[in-house]
C-alpha cells in the first residue's frame, strides 16, 4: 500500500472578513516531493501556510497531515516551519547560532528537560549539515543574511522533521546566497527524502529542483506542468509561464 500523502488539502476555502481569499483549493504533497507554491502578492500564499499549520481555520474543506485530519493532528515535531523573515527576528537577539539551533530540539525534549551531551552533538551536526559548524559560538546577529537563514534551516533540521514548510526563504538574501540555499534544500530532499513545501516568488532559481509547482491565482489553485514551466522559463523569462495564470510571471533574474 502506498504511503499516505504527507499533506493533502481538499476543497479548502478561506474568507477574511467575509472576503473570500481562495475557494475550494485542493492539492497534495507526496513523501519526498519538493513542491513550490507560487503566486502574486496578496493571493493568499502565506494564508495557505497558516491554514496548513492550524494557525487559521478554513471556512470549509479539510486538510490532512500525514494521513490524519489536521484538527486531530498532534505530532507537530514532524513538521518544520520557517516563517518569512525568521532570520530578521534573530538579528537583534543576543544568542549564538548553537543556542538558536538548540531550540529546534524542544519538541523532542518537552518541559523541564535539558539537552544533554547528545543534544549538543545533534546541534553541531545540524550546523555541520548547513556548513556552519565553525560559526556555532557566534552571535546570530553577527552572521550574514545567508548564514542566518542557514542557521534557521539547521534549527529545523535538528528536530528531524519529515516535512519542511518554508515561506519565502530567499527574502532579504542576495542571488548567489539564494542559489546555494536552494541547492542545500535540494541535497536534503535527495539525500534524506525530506519533503519540502516552499512558498516562493523565486521559481526561476528553484525550478531545477522541483517536482511540482502550484500556482495560486484569483482564489484558485492550479498545478503547472513542469515541462511547460521549463519551456517558458527557458525563453529568457520574457513570457508568463502560463497564459491562463497571471501570477506566474517569472522573477527577474539578473
Amino acid at each position: 500500500m502506498a504511503a499516505p500523502d504527507v499533506l493533502r488539502a481538499e476543497n479548502v476555502s478561506f474568507s477574511y472578513h467575509r472576503e473570500p481569499v481562495f475557494t475550494r483549493v485542493s492539492f497534495s504533497v507526496a513523501p519526498g516531493d519538493f513542491t513550490a507554491v507560487i503566486g502574486a502578492n496578496g493571493t493568499g500564499k502565506s494564508t495557505l501556510i497558516k491554514l496548513l499549520l492550524g494557525q487559521l481555520s478554513p471556512t470549509s474543506g479539510q486538510i490532512w497531515l500525514f494521513g490524519q485530519e489536521q484538527r486531530a493532528f498532534g505530532d507537530w515535531s514532524r513538521i518544520g516551519y520557517l516563517a518569512q523573515n525568521q532570520a530578521a527576528t534573530a538579528q537583534s537577539f543576543p544568542a549564538t547560532a548553537a543556542e538558536i539551533v538548540q531550540t529546534g530540539l524542544y519538541p523532542s525534549l518537552g518541559l523541564f528537560r535539558f539537552p544533554g551531551r547528545q543534544g549538543r552533538q545533534k546541534v553541531l551536526e545540524a550546523l555541520d549539515r548547513v556548513g556552519l559548524r565553525p560559526m556555532a559560538g557566534r552571535l546570530v546577529g553577527q552572521l550574514s543574511g545567508g548564514q542566518q537563514q542557514r542557521v534557521m534551516l539547521a534549527r529545523l533540521l535538528v528536530g528531524q522533521p519529515r516535512l519542511m514548510i518554508l515561506d519565502e526563504p530567499s527574502t532579504g538574501i542576495d542571488e548567489q546566497t539564494a542559489r546555494s540555499l536552494y541547492a542545500l534544500l535540494a541535497d536534503l530532499n535527495r539525500d534524506t527524502g525530506l519533503t519540502i513545501l516552499m512558498v516562493t516568488h523565486d521559481v526561476a532559481r528553484v525550478e531545477p529542483y522541483l517536482n511540482h509547482v502550484f500556482c495560486l491565482e484569483s482564489g484558485s489553485m492550479i498545478e503547472l506542468a513542469r515541462a511547460q514551466l521549463l519551456e517558458e522559463l527557458g525563453h529568457r523569462h520574457k513570457h508568463p509561464v502560463n497564459p491562463e495564470c497571471a501570477c506566474c510571471e517569472p522573477a527577474e533574474v539578473s
Binding site: 499549520l53 494557525q55 507537530w76 515535531s77 513538521i79 516551519y81 516563517a83 525568521q86 527576528t89 534573530a90 537577539f93 543576543p94 544568542a95 549564538t96 543556542e99 538558536i100 538548540q102 531550540t103 529546534g104 524542544y106 519538541p107 525534549l109 518537552g110 518541559l111 523541564f112 535539558f114 559560538g137 552571535l139 528536530g159
Partner: protein, 278 residues
C-alpha cells in the same frame, strides 16, 4: 573599617535583600526586554502603589496589597494584549494610567503619608522580619522557576509563534512569567522603591547586552551587574548618607554610560587601525 557597615543588623538585612533581588530581577528583566515589553515593569511598579495604599488604608501588609494589585494589573495587560495584539504596548499604557490614577486617589485616604512615601523610593534598610521572609521565598520561587523554564522562556522571548508551533505551552508559560514579574515587582517596590524598580529591571540587562556573547552569558552578566550595582550602591549610600534605592540605580546608569562610551571608543580604535583601501 570598610566592614563596619556589616556590624549593623539592618545593613546585613539590606545586603541580603539586595543580593536576593539582584539575582532575580535580571532574570525577569531579560525576558521582558527581549519580548520588547520593558515598560511592563514601570506599569506594574506604579500599579503596586495602588495596592500599597489599599494595604495602608485597610491596615494589612502593604506588600500583600502590592502583590494583589500587580498580579491583577499583569493579568489585565495580558488580557488587553490578546484583544489588540497589534498594539500590545497600548495595554501597558492603559494599565499604567489606571494604576497611577488609583494610587493617586487612594493615597489621599492614607493617614500616614510618610509610610506611603517610603514605597516610592524604597526603604531597603527598614525591612522587617516578615518582609525579609517574603523576599527569601519569592526569590527562591522565581529563581527555581526561571531555571526550570529556561528554554521555554528563551524560545518565547525569541519567537512566540515558533514556540507555539514547537509545542511550548505558551499561554501557561506567559501566565507563570506574568506572576513571576508581578511578585518580583511588588517585593522590590518595598525595598528599592516603586519608582526605581523598573530601572533595576532594565539597566543591568542593558549592561549585560553590551558585553554578552551568547544568551546564557548575557543572563549571567546581567545578574553580575545587578549584584555589583546593589553592593556598590548600598556601600556608597551608607558612607555618603544617600538614599540606597536611588544610589543603586545611579551606579547602574553610570556603568551603562561608561560601557556605551567604551564600546564607541573600541569601535573607533578598530576603524582607525584598519588600513585605508580607497
Amino acid at each position: 573599617m570598610v566592614l563596619s557597615v556589616f556590624a549593623y543588623g539592618f545593613m546585613q538585612r539590606a545586603f541580603l535583600v539586595g543580593i536576593l533581588l539582584a539575582l532575580i530581577i535580571p532574570c525577569i528583566g531579560i525576558v521582558m526586554i527581549l519580548k520588547r515589553l520593558s515598560m511592563i515593569g514601570d506599569a506594574l511598579a506604579h500599579t503596586s502603589l495602588a495596592g500599597v495604599a489599599t494595604g495602608l488604608i485597610f491596615n494589612f501588609n502593604p506588600i500583600l496589597g502590592a502583590m494583589a494589585a500587580t498580579v491583577t494589573a499583569a493579568l489585565g495587560i495580558e488580557a488587553i494584549r490578546k484583544k489588540i495584539p497589534r498594539y500590545a504596548e497600548l495595554a501597558i499604557a492603559v494599565i499604567m494610567s489606571t494604576g497611577i490614577g488609583l494610587a493617586a486617589v487612594l493615597s489621599g485616604f492614607v493617614s500616614n503619608a510618610a509610610s506611603f512615601n517610603s514605597f516610592l523610593f524604597g526603604s531597603i534598610v527598614a525591612v522587617n522580619d516578615f518582609e525579609l521572609l517574603l523576599v527569601v521565598l519569592v526569590s527562591a520561587a522565581v529563581l527555581l522557576t526561571f531555571i526550570l523554564l529556561y528554554k521555554e522562556l528563551f524560545l518565547i522571548a525569541y519567537d512566540e509563534e515558533a514556540a507555539r508551533l514547537a509545542g511550548v505551552p505558551v499561554k501557561t508559560i506567559n501566565f507563570i512569567f506574568t506572576l513571576m514579574t508581578a511578585v518580583t515587582v511588588s517585593v522590590a517596590a518595598r525595598t528599592v522603591g516603586a519608582l526605581i524598580v523598573s530601572s533595576m529591571l532594565v539597566i543591568p540587562v542593558a549592561c549585560g547586552l553590551q558585553l554578552g556573547r551568547s544568551y546564557r552569558q548575557t543572563v549571567l552578566l546581567s545578574i553580575g551587574f545587578a549584584l555589583v550595582f546593589t553592593i556598590a550602591g548600598l556601600l556608597i549610600a551608607y558612607y555618603a548618607g544617600l538614599k540606597p534605592g536611588g544610589t543603586i540605580v545611579l551606579t547602574g546608569v553610570i556603568t551603562l554610560l561608561l560601557l556605551f562610551a567604551g564600546r564607541h571608543l573600541a569601535t573607533r580604535l578598530r576603524r582607525a587601525k584598519k588600513p585605508h583601501t580607497a
